[in-house]
Symmetry: D3
Subunit: 282 residues, 6 copies
């Protein structure tokens, strides 16, 4: 349904395969058919099953993939994530690219879930940022949703966020808000980045509906919540860690954005094992 997924997968395959998988094309007979499983080698929230399916589909439509742990499922080390059956060449050639998607997206979903669990019970949502790996934003933001987080804007075009640098050039928060209000679509709200409580007051007075509290201390955040008193959505941002997120949520902010969800989730350990092989009869 979303055409861009297949383009990202195509790019990744071209990048890895180049002019052809010399080893596999030499050693695996064209008619070889195998069965393989993808195994979690550590605990994780699975994410990336549809991308893996697309990897194999692009290589050979005859590969069938049976997910045993669909995206969003928590699995333990040793669990099977999915089973693959089909032409041996396609499965071995696609293995690394498929796992590269799985290991990155599962790491993001897993880390997101950890943050989300920390704020459980509060009204606060954990949201991502635009600090994603170039080329993978669509998928990484999907992984955040799979992990229970929410997405901030997807790009520079689908939301207005007036940042420090914009304010400086526009000549102040009020000026910036006024200029933007006229220019944007009625479906888009305006968010303003504030570094001080004075700025928060000014933004509220200028009629903004969302305020990003940038790198504020817990104390400042608490005061901002009191000051705003429900007149705007508040997003806390900057240096949020697993160990501090619950405390920040307890201030009553609506959103906490965490760049680490996408840029520092690392990788989950997964592997593909062949469990059977035979020649294709045809």
């Amino acid at each position: 349904m979303i055409p861009m997924w297949s383009d990202i997968v195509k790019t990744a395959l071209n990048e890895d395969i180049g002019r052809g998988d010399v080893t596999t094309n030499t050693l695996i007979p064209a008619g070889s058919e195998i069965e393989a499983v993808v195994i979690a080698k550590e605990d994780m929230v699975v994410c990336g099953i549809p991308m893996m399916a697309e990897v194999f589909r692009q290589l050979d439509k005859r590969v069938r993939m049976l997910p045993e742990a669909p995206d969003g499922t928590g699995v333990r080390a040793g669990n099977t994530i999915c089973t693959l059956r089909g032409p041996g060449r396609a499965i071995l050639t696609g293995e690394r690219v498929a796992l590269n998607f799985l290991q990155n997206l599962s790491a993001i979903a897993t880390l997101t879930r950890q943050y989300v669990e920390q704020v459980a019970g509060s009204q606060t949502k954990v949201v991502d940022t635009r600090k994603t790996t170039p080329g993978l934003r669509l998928l990484q933001k999907y992984a955040v949703r799979v992990g229970g987080g929410h997405n901030h804007r997807m790009g520079l075009d689908d939301g207005v966020l007036i940042k420090e640098n914009h304010i400086a050039i526009a000549g102040g928060i009020t000026e910036a808000i006024n200029q933007v209000r006229e220019a944007t679509c009625h479906l888009q709200q305006i968010e303003v980045e504030c570094e001080t409580l004075e700025q928060v007051s000014e933004a509220i007075d200028a009629g903004t509906q969302i305020i990003l509290l940038d790198n504020m201390t817990l104390k400042q955040i608490e005061k901002a919540v009191q000051l705003v008193d429900g007149r705007a959505i508040l997003e806390a941002s900057g240096n949020v860690m697993l160990s501090t997120v619950r405390e920040i949520a307890s201030t009553g902010v609506n959103l906490i954005s965490v760049g680490a969800l996408t840029h520092s989730a690392g990788s989950k350990d997964v592997s593909l094992r062949i469990i059977g092989d035979k020649s294709l009869k045809k």
Copy 2:
């Protein structure tokens, strides 16, 4: 020189900008010209300067970038990495994409240097793997080189690595090596993945020139080194950590491959600050 860099950058810009940067296009006058610096917010080995330059070049050829810490330079928190001068719109619109390249590649270069420093004094090289982020392999492998590491093969087409699954289907190590030797270009050597010392012996007997010791214990690696006795290049692989890499190197293996260099380096903290702005006279 390498056309693919510019394609990766173009994809990243399209992904972020979509139909246009609403905020910047509204608030920053077309003629605005600014000066900005990119600052390291933690210690790191810088990597990504050419990609940042390409980001801004694609947005507006008038942006000039003066690197103060070229790729490979170690910088301290607070140091300036580069200075930018030019149209305010291009600099603000490109900021996030440029920093996304910088934060990822610098993290890889920094982590690589840490591994390389651990094995300093030995003959052992630290090499990367194909466990890269989909779409960024060319750049991430460049970052490994910037950090002092070496590259393993770039893709499935420019090197032969006979892995466990290939061996199983080909019917054994000797069979696999013989089949591949006939098929490959004379410029390519053959590497074989071995999990036991018996396999190492068989691979040597079959005339392989490079052996990957897969997930072996330190003890096994030592024995493999003795067994092979210089008749092949040895690569240790699997669960290598910063804390164990030196010990592994001390066995005398030629190469240690570390997937974490590219899949778990995380992100270095960098930011862009405007330090001056004026209207473009023309």
Copy 3:
């Protein structure tokens, strides 16, 4: 700055030129240099100057274009819109594509201005729809802005509009709003299409912030305005004509959307005339 403009222009040039302009390449010497003007042959609001410039830039960077009536300028039949100087081949080969952009976008800007002038004095904004010519949305929505109109959402991804068909499947307005509120980014507001006053009441009760009054009579619109009483932004839509738009605006709706702005603006008559030619000395 916006990379997609250049892609649209490239597509248009390829479409027209194919394997090469036989006539021009035969008759116009490679070194020929000419001066030409683009003339309005009827009154219009000019729109498309940057796209014309891009057409000629892609064909030959030496073409210089001096706009005499920048986008948004009202001109009379006979006025010069811009002057072109440079290689004769590029100017003649690009002529038709450049004028095709200009004639379409100027027609949209002109028609938009007529609608905008009709509602002058009211608080109502004239907005466009997604009923654009496939492939040209970005440019046609730009033309609406040039004409003084405002843009509704650019695509299905940068705004939520719950339409009749969505409501039917979701099981009602309230259900739909609740489901969407959880899923969307905090920067996006929710608009709901209503066909009756009962639906308007339900949408308000469910907390929607924007309501599209679909194909309502003037009477119904008036009642909706009273009913809503400022609790939501109201958009009137459906069968809006130049002759009725003022009356609709007088009801106090915030927005009136007009599909005709982009799908039925037609074309403005423009032509290119050579006013001088000489051989390039070099």
Copy 4:
């Protein structure tokens, strides 16, 4: 069969969908299956059925489309144009793009038929021009054929048309014809644009086979027909209207070209209605 159709459709879908249809993906369950009809809301000649089918095919191969009024069929307001059955998400996400093709192409086919009916009984053919919407030429020229018109050349590469500007630079009609005759493929005939009867005489003497009578009065066209007396194909061009086309045809010209067919046909009113929905069983 014609690969470019699918590329145009892909571009249009990307343009509209961007990063995904938020509303539909949230409100329509993945397994939902619906039945819908596309209805004409005014009288028209239908055109665009294959492009609509391609829109839905690209989104989801399971959508089935049953045309009830194939391209070229005249329908009345209220008639069903086609029925759609399949996944609800694909149908709702593709609706607008599909209708955008249909409304534009049907308008062109309808307008063309009106012109063609005006000249019925004569030998004169109605032909289009290169004044098409950038990116849609292939489809718009198809719509002209569907409406009963004929196509002039498709682009600058598949026919020679020596225009006023070419003549001026080449140094005269005779010179231009001679130069072009040597350069072109034997399958291509040469058409020359003439503004006066003297030019017509010169073009005939120089051996041209086709003459475009540019912006001539009815009187002049009549004289040109007499003067040429069957020695060349004559095309009348410039300011042709529905109200004047019959009279022009009565002069005996072979072709009348009408830019308005493609640039000013506007849009026909069509809509999509859901007539049933159920969950996909699988």
Copy 5:
């Protein structure tokens, strides 16, 4: 001017360079600047200078190329074709691709000139066919023109050629001509492939303007020329060789088409030699 040239060159560079020129990037310093000459190692008609310039331009805009033998020039073994100055990396990396264009296109131009010289003094033109190397048609047909030949149609879309297989399905020559005449643009003439004199008669009677005499003997061609007696353009085709082309021309046919011009011209021997190198000062 012709955008497709640059796309063909880009494809060729990507194909050769892949992930980067390891040898050159290692051995040639980034600042190295060299001077080189391209030498003909056998007699030839030069063709491909603009494509070579494009190769180097895409790699590095600083490379300057001074053609000493522009396209169409006959050179002797040992002559310099062009001189190159600029960054050593770009020149060495682009060398092979640039020469691959030059050696193929010069061979075509040279062979074409040999055919053209054979028919000198006659009215007969030597034309090419669609038997070109996939992907290079535009350039190979350009080389034919450079060699003094003429182009037959460029593709299936810019000329009508009714072949044996079309005639069989359409139900005869007359039927085919009538059907096509109605469908095609007035700028396109109709060519019919005939294998017998009876077919030639039928084609003439049906009003075709061009006839392809397919694989006829010299005798048959002579009779066809007499039979047609100037009522149509005649093209002789099939098994034309350098040794037979003059004789065929002497029959008075208008065109002789030669597939060998593009599919069997082989390659001319050319090489690049460095004649100076220094470091770039900057």
Copy 6:
């Protein structure tokens, strides 16, 4: 499996079809179904069957192709290479492109086999070069393998070949080898181009594993073989002909590279004949 094949085919089809096959679309009914055979008109080694299949697959998935002489089969003039059944339009529109692949690749496979047969009985392998037709390298190198030859490196990125120009700039053979050894992947060996026996000695001393003997006489090659005495792989290159290749092989060199395999193989004569047609029932 190898995605690039389909891209090359797509480019070739676009190049030939452009805006559509006027003749076929007019004369062949949409429902027409035919059966055709592809015939060899001279003796050859067949190569290109998968590319032909891809041509027809892209035009219409309903075309079925039954190869009677798979790639690598030697056929005689008059033999059937494959049979095609399916929609008449797709088969006639794709005919020329399909045959263009077949005629070029079969010529390469045939010429390669002739070289390979010349060296039969020796240990010497016949290898190709990078002197391929731009855009077709992947396919032409495949044809060399089909003919029994071996591939040299595929591009500048998958093998190191230090050539005369590199040596000159690097400051000597030893220097060049040392610099490259540090930079390349352990899977890649280093080949050095030598023009004299002194260079060969130096290269051996510097530890190179492969030496290209450039344009040496038979005498020199013999001496080089003695000098090297098995310490490196030797490749003879330059002016190798069918008549000399056996003699060169008798010197004991390991590889003989032949540019002519790809750049001067010419074309094999093949044709497509319809052997049956009927209407599609549906």
